[in-house]
């Protein structure tokens, strides 16, 4: 297996953009990424697209060539990956695998979602199709209510509190407020976070990520060719994708995500590092409880300690291990199919010292965790400075 690097990155801002369609978002991020890597569309040997529900949100299918041809990429394999919220994490995993195996040299990975074209109850319904529509969803579950149940059980089992959940929201909004590309650039207080209107009790408005439009792209290449494209390549040190049982009621213990643990174990082994070595991370905070469980499943703290760890400030920009310096899905926005690649872009920005006001002090080894559905898919990536 060849060492692989990210040699270019580009994102659109995340938000609600009535005048931008799915295709133009994907093309904008892809073009920005190619420009960032001084690469041309003609050099791209394969195009991998992450998208969750373009057919449902925008009524468009056959999405990979729909976007790649508009980018000027012609003739090469162009394929869409769908794994709910981990769609573009999965596309990135498969792109890195193909380059590592020597199948291609240059693969462009784009993640995109256009969500705000539908009213909220319809968005809820489309998101819920990532759950078991013959069981949990038929009973009226939403994604918020599935994670609300996870939160209730975590509270019951470990003593996690409402304040712990809100500490995640307050921190991520403080980070997102400094991110010019974030959707909700707004600092919130602990009091606001604790008392927002309920969405699915015990989760409230500020526990939930946003409904967003946006796209993100990265260009993947073998490390040995990285300097043709950038002075600041970022090496993919470890990456793994794992799966787990589908519906929540099929899981033995819903306060942990076995797919996260499996993917993390493999990624750590591949990178030759452990949780303690990871300096910062972008984690999948689709709901505040998900970030709390992620810091536990990734081995940063013991089970049940994710809440206290966050409340103590350990994951803030100036803490021991900053988490979601981008603002996370919570404040940056969560265009579902774009999120996995956006996380890679955000880790790359920190490693390259390009994170502006959000730049943290120790930034040479970072991790991204992209969760699909209520935990049936997870991709974990460890990125570091290319020596």
């Amino acid at each position: 297996m060849r060492p692989v690097a990210v040699v270019g990155a580009g994102k659109t801002p995340f938000g609600a953009f009535p005048d931008r369609d799915l295709r133009s978002l994907g093309v904008a991020a892809g073009a920005k990424c190619l420009a960032n890597a001084n690469a041309t569309p003609g050099q791209v040997e394969a195009f991998y697209l992450g998208n969750f529900a373009g057919p449902s949100f925008a009524g468009q299918n056959h999405l990979a060539p729909y976007i790649s041809t508009a980018l000027g990429i012609q003739g090469v394999p162009s394929t869409r990956f769908e794994a709910a919220c981990a769609s573009s994490g999965s596309a990135f995993f498969h792109a890195v695998s193909a380059v590592a195996a020597g199948l291609y040299d240059l693969v462009l990975v784009v993640g995109v979602e256009k969500m705000t074209c539908q009213p909220t109850p319809k968005v809820s319904e489309i998101l819920a199709s990532a759950g078991d529509t013959t069981g949990e969803i038929k009973a009226g579950s939403t994604f918020a209510s599935l994670f609300a149940m996870i939160a209730r059980r975590h509270m019951h089992q470990f003593g996690t509190t409402r304040e712990h959940l809100s500490a995640v929201a307050v921190k991520n909004h403080a980070n997102g407020a400094l991110n010019p590309d974030a959707q909700l650039r707004k600092i919130i207080t602990m009091e606001q976070a604790m008392n927002a209107k309920p969405i699915a009790e015990p989760l409230n408005l500020y526990d939930c990520s946003l409904i967003s439009d946006g796209a993100a792209a990265v260009l993947v290449a073998p490390l040995e060719r990285a300097h043709e494209f950038t002075a600041k390549p970022v090496r993919v040190l470890g990456i793994a994708q794992a799966s787990d049982s589908f519906a929540l009621d099929e899981k033995e213990d819903i306060t942990t995500f076995p797919a996260v643990r499996r993917a993390a174990d493999q990624a750590y082994r591949m990178a030759g590092v452990g949780p303690r070595d990871i300096q910062f991370a972008e984690l999948h905070d689709c709901f505040t409880i998900a970030e709390i469980i992620a810091v536990e499943d990734l081995g940063f703290v013991e089970r049940g300690q994710g809440g206290p760890y966050t409340l103590a400030g350990c994951t803030s920009r100036t803490g021991d291990r900053p988490i979601n310096t981008s603002g996370g899905l919570k404040s940056k926005g969560h265009p579902v199919g774009a999120t996995g690649v956006a996380q890679i872009c955000d880790v790359v920005a920190q490693i390259r010292s390009e994170a502006g006001e959000r730049q943290i002090a120790r930034h040479s080894l970072g991790l991204a965790e992209n969760l699909g559905g209520s935990g049936a898919t997870c991709v974990v990536t460890i990125l570091g400075e290319a020596a």
Partner: protein
């Protein structure tokens, strides 16, 4: 059927098909006879509020569509 409420949530923002039902309570119940199911919980008899902070015993469970 009887069982134990493993976890629950009260839905305020619902998908299109359930918008007129809010708020409603969903739960995953570990059944006495084995296995777990996800379902809807009604308020307890004589109460208007959902018992939102009580993971524990549940009775009068029935499969959707069956008579009470």
């Amino acid at each position: 059927m009887t069982g134990t409420v493993y976890m629950e949530a009260v839905v305020h923002a619902a998908p299109e098909a359930f918008v007129s039902d809010v708020p409603y309570q969903t739960a995953i119940v570990s059944l006495e006879e084995g296995g777990r199911v996800t379902g809807r919980m009604g308020p307890q008899a004589g109460q208007r509020q959902f018992p939102t902070h009580s993971l524990g015993w549940a009775e009068n469970l029935r499969i959707l569509g069956e008579a009470a």
